[in-house]
């Protein structure tokens, strides 16, 4: 005889706990889609460069004095966000607040330095296809950093209100995932626009 199957679950967590919850999955899917967006942006650069006549590149040796430290700084801010989440897991709210503050300041400084870098470029948005690609790609990335800054500010506020704990921290975990993603993208953008010219692409 056939048995009737019945799910009799044991103790189950109620609502999102730690990184377990649909919110984590949701942000992951959006990160995948955003990653595709940047892949297409970089594809546009490489495709246009590869099919262009010689001399497409505007600067065969772009200055690294601002861009390199700026990219490194953004990676350090990722460590800060990692540290913020660790603080919650260990019940140290002060550490979380401080780390979120550090990440925010580093992210904001990145945006300011990015503007400085743009001003220092010898070309403008409409000068050529390479210039357009450069400004739109770095601009798109900077816009993602700005969105992340708004999210970090909201997290700081919520942490100050004592909303989170080791158990209930999905918002922090989700923003951290997004922030790490944006910083990985900054490395890809940097490699494309500041390193490949030295390797001879598009000259």
């Amino acid at each position: 005889m056939a048995e009737t199957l019945l799910s009799r679950p044991e103790n189950l967590p109620v609502g999102p706990t730690g990184r377990q919850g649909v919110g984590w999955w949701g942000v992951s899917t959006l990160v995948v889609s955003e990653a595709a967006l940047f892949a297409y942006l970089l594809f546009a650069y490489f495709y246009t460069g590869a099919t262009a006549p010689r001399g497409w590149l505007l600067e065969s040796a772009p200055r690294l004095q601002v861009a390199l430290p700026n990219t490194v700084m953004l990676l350090v801010s990722s460590l800060a966000v990692f540290w913020a989440e660790r603080g919650l897991m260990k019940g140290r709210r002060g550490q979380t607040l401080a780390a979120l503050g550090v990440a925010f300041v580093l992210g904001a400084a990145f945006v300011v330095l990015q503007c400085v870098e743009w001003r220092g470029k010898p070309y403008r948005l409409g000068d050529s296809s390479e210039a357009s690609l450069y400004f739109v790609t770095t601009g798109m990335h900077a816009a993602h950093v700005v969105v992340g800054l708004v999210a970090l500010a909201a997290l700081s506020c919520w942490t100050a209100l004592n909303y989170f704990s080791a158990r209930r921290r999905m918002a922090v975990a989700a923003v951290a995932l997004y922030w790490h993603f944006v910083n990985v993208i900054s490395v890809c953008v940097f490699l494309t626009y500041y390193v490949t010219p030295y390797l001879g692409f598009g000259r």
Partner: protein, 646 residues
Amino acid sequence: MMQPELRTPAVDVDSIAHEARLYSLWETAPGLKGFLSSVDHKTIGIRYIVTAFVFLALGGVEALVIRLQLAGPNLTLLTPSEYNQFFSTHGMTMIFLYAAPVLSGFSNYLWPLLLGSRDMAFPRLNALSYWIYLAAGLFLYAGFLTGNGPNDGWFNYVPYASRDFNPGLNQDFYALGMVFLGVSTTVGSANFVVTAFRTRAPGMSINRIPIMVWGTLTASVANLLVVPAVSLAFFMLWMDRQFGTHFFDPAGGGQPLLWQHLFWIFGHPWVYAIVLPAMGMVSDGLPVFCRRPVVGYSLVALATVATMILGFGVWVHHMFATGLPGLGLSFFSGASIVIVLPSAVAVFAWLATIWLGRPVITTAFLFFSSMILLFVIGGVSGFMTASVPVDWQLTDTYFVVAHLHYVLIGINVFPVVGALYFWFPKMTGRMLDEKLGRWNFWIMFIGFNLAFLPMHLTGLLGMPRRVYTYAANGGWGTLNLITSIGSFLFAAGVLLLLINVMKSLKSGAAAGRNPWDAPTLEWAVSSPPPPYNFAVIPTVASRHPLWEGRLGTEGDRSSLDRGMLLVEGKETIGTSGLDADPDMVLKMSKDSFAPISLAAGMSVLFTGLLLKLWALAIVGAVICTMALIAWFWPLHELREREAPHG
């Protein structure tokens, strides 16, 4: 009071008191408040379907105007520039505002019912995707109604879309509208992916989900990966037009072919995204009328996924005539030919299901089974154009127009109308009229084939597409007249569907829970289902929970009457990705104004961008930011944060 962090969900049978409690938790408020804030997947699904059918009707009327213009040589109903807007808006409407959204509508409505859950994984995101779809549709149509519709075909090649050749607002409406609509598609797809992996009924392991879920899931994964390509392309086009960038402008070192690559990297997977869920409808609906399970479930599911994987590698077959290197063309030609294989698997599985079953001829069966024929005709003409030399002969002729209408009407419209006959009773509690349904089917079927079968010949005789008229001496007049007559007959068939829906809503026969004696979970609940779908969470032991007795299934049986109650708030069960073992209690969000506020803010933002009113754009961005912060504010009732202290 400290909230418990862990809980063992109570298991019992349904009771009147239990249902009353569920109603109070899940029912949407009456009136305008509920209308604007509802996150019920069934409400959203029906809104999607109704809106998509309105766009189908609009796109249909545009098609009829086009067919009047082309009914004979040298007609002057439309000027050339009006004709450009009509055929472009027709394509945009059917492909972006009807074909994909109507499938999202069915999936939104059906998924939680098919999966034994109480809502989608992200109910508010679901509402957002609908409101953005509506807003973007209105945005795009605002362009058309003010004489600024798209005018360069739905795939909108540069340089004709560039500002030098197209100075009006037409392309700006289209570009920004498509970026706007892309947000809806993306968030909707994210919701489907998470819903499929995290909210299935306990026991519904990945090899027990209905094929339609496979179809929409596959399409959604693809959308996440390819929609950014077209959004980016349209954004770049807008930048080129309004800010003097040179992405597509050769004079500034740009690459016009970049547009075609980005568009078709999106466009071809998109073609599969608007047919795979519809093929899933056939794979689930047809077997019900054959009184047996679909033949080769695993093969059909794998064919669905394989089609999409191959579908990522065929986009260049739209670009065979652009002068790309021969080796590249060979690769994409090969991939386009190989993709026939998974399609053939599905076709033979459906044929075998009919062959081995005991078919009951209903209107839904006629629509589902005729789709197989139309799919084969459209597939073979696609297979022909996958060959480079044949494509060079046929590209930009009416042969391609005939092919794409066989594919899109054959594999999207016919299954969708069949699905309406099949699931309308579930959605409304009333049956559609079968007698009217036969007229509906045969008129649509004859009208469609009368319109589009001769069109292959029109194309072979060399008539180019997208041209507003033709000379009398080309020998195309009679064929075009036949096509025009067929298209009006087809439209009359669609009108009969509308009449049937109106009539049956008022006076259709009562449906009951399971009028077709179908096997899957949506038929286990009342028609229409209560706001919470399932009073107790079902436990699933097979692919056909309602057919277990008669299929002679050995071993465990599904439990539909007894299960987790989950009534301590708006709750459903979260399960593991592959095996669907319960692993958490999901707290579901209540009705919310955040989605519609966000969609409104985005509408303001995009209007500001279109008109270059930067202050307005900033106002829109601020509204969006506020709506998002309100949305993500961690709520205690959703267990997103700790209980307040003290």
